[in-house]
Amino acid sequence: MDARTQEFLEYVQSGGQVETDDWMPDEYRARLIKFIEMHGNSELMGVLPERDWILRAPTLQRKLALTAKIQDEVGHCQLIYRVVEDLGKPRERCLDDLLSGKSKFHNVFHYPTKSWGDVGVIAWLVDAAAIISQKALLKCSYAPYARVMKKVCWEESFHILHGRDTVLAMVTGTPEQFELVQEALNRWWTPLMHFHGTPIPAEEDPMFVWRIKSQSNEDARQQFLDGYVPQIRELGLEIPDPQLRKDEATGRWLYTEPDWEELKAVVTGHGPASEERLAFRRLSRAEVDWASKIVLAEAA
């Protein structure tokens, strides 16, 4: 590592903040773009599992709340892609790479949704898992991204409440409604355990080394389990992992080790809904590209 890069590394590791036009090592810039782009991709792809349910929402209140939640996510995608653009990669190229499968998006958005039970579970637990990561990103060394995370975290706070309220209505409703939630939880538990990534130690995670992430994957997962396992169990729902328990001595949660190869396969486009979702996006983009080009015409 050359002296300038070493100096930069020490700077970010001691809490230094980086702005768009500051000098940064090529490796830092490349990792930053890849990480932030994946986040933007995820917000965009995250819309697809949920958007159909807007049309099927069973009350006006739920319809409005779900529409607003998804609107927020599209907005977050916009904010996050702007950060990537200012780092040098135009939004259209981000979309090209997403749709060609070249760049990735989070595991949870590669799975199908099957019922209104999924809607509640996703809004409550998937968003909860996401907020934990996003709060850690408030300390990102790259300041423009950290600032965007402030707005993102503020807007996400209602999503979890809406999700939990949706789940609560069902678990206090008919036995069939309770079953919808339990069944959805059974399917979403593995993706949730995968969500924060492999338990790579912080010092070995380049994202942490450069202080792009400020929390290890395992710490994030533990935080999720700490916060949400009690909340899930108190509703009478069963978590489909018989090994899941908190070791009172260490304060750490023990669980069945997720299949990390499965996670890898999913994020490289082999999830149950990956191809279908990308195909849908490609089609939609092709249909409206003409309008986008008229309004956002390139400067002469």
Binding site: L44, V47, L48, R51, W53, I54, L55, R56, A57, P58, T59, L60, Q61, R62, K63, L64, T67, A68, I70, Q71, V74, G75, C77, Q78, Y81, R91, S115, W116, T166, A169, M170, T172, G173, T174, E176, Q177, R281, L283, S284, E287, V288, D289, W290, A291, S292, I294, V295, L296
Partner: protein, 218 residues
Amino acid sequence: MQARLRAEIALELADDELILGWRNSEWTGIAPFLEEDVAFSSIAQNEIGHARALYELAARDLGDGRDADALAFDRAPHEYRCAPLVQLRLVPDWARTVARHVLYEAADAVRIAALKEHPDAELAGIAAKIEREEAYHRLHAEMWLERLREEERFAAALEELWPFALGILDAELRPALAERFARPEVDAVERAAPGAEFAELWDEMTVVRRSAPVGAQW
């Protein structure tokens, strides 16, 4: 005024706004670009919000135990009074979507302006609120109109949907709309019992709701 009569006015308007809001939310996540996606979603939400306020009024007037959600979701397809214009499935055609948006906002403006003058204070009050919110919808529609004016497909869409737009309004209000667009008042596509396209929409709209008994909480 008679509660029944007020309920009928409210229901017709509510059904238009609900179904248009429903159709507009079909664009969530797939609008031409991200900024527009967010903006168009607010318009859809506002429409559903208007529908909700109107259903609440109608529910009180009908006084038969049904609440706003019951009116929105639990009627049979043939009982809805929405105009043909709002029932049309236009995704993924942005030109026709904008054409409908431009025409509907203009027609609604004429209708709402009249409703603001209604002797019933509550109805007039809701109309005034709707008008204040829809002022922004009209600005949005106009900004797109400016951009797409020269586009062949947009001009064709306006032409195609014009008779449908007239059908939003009662006969005595149609000349005002015709004047606004400097177009002749042709034969309108009139309100009628909703058909197959609506039945498909209703089916999807109510599939979750119908999976539990009437009165179940969600």
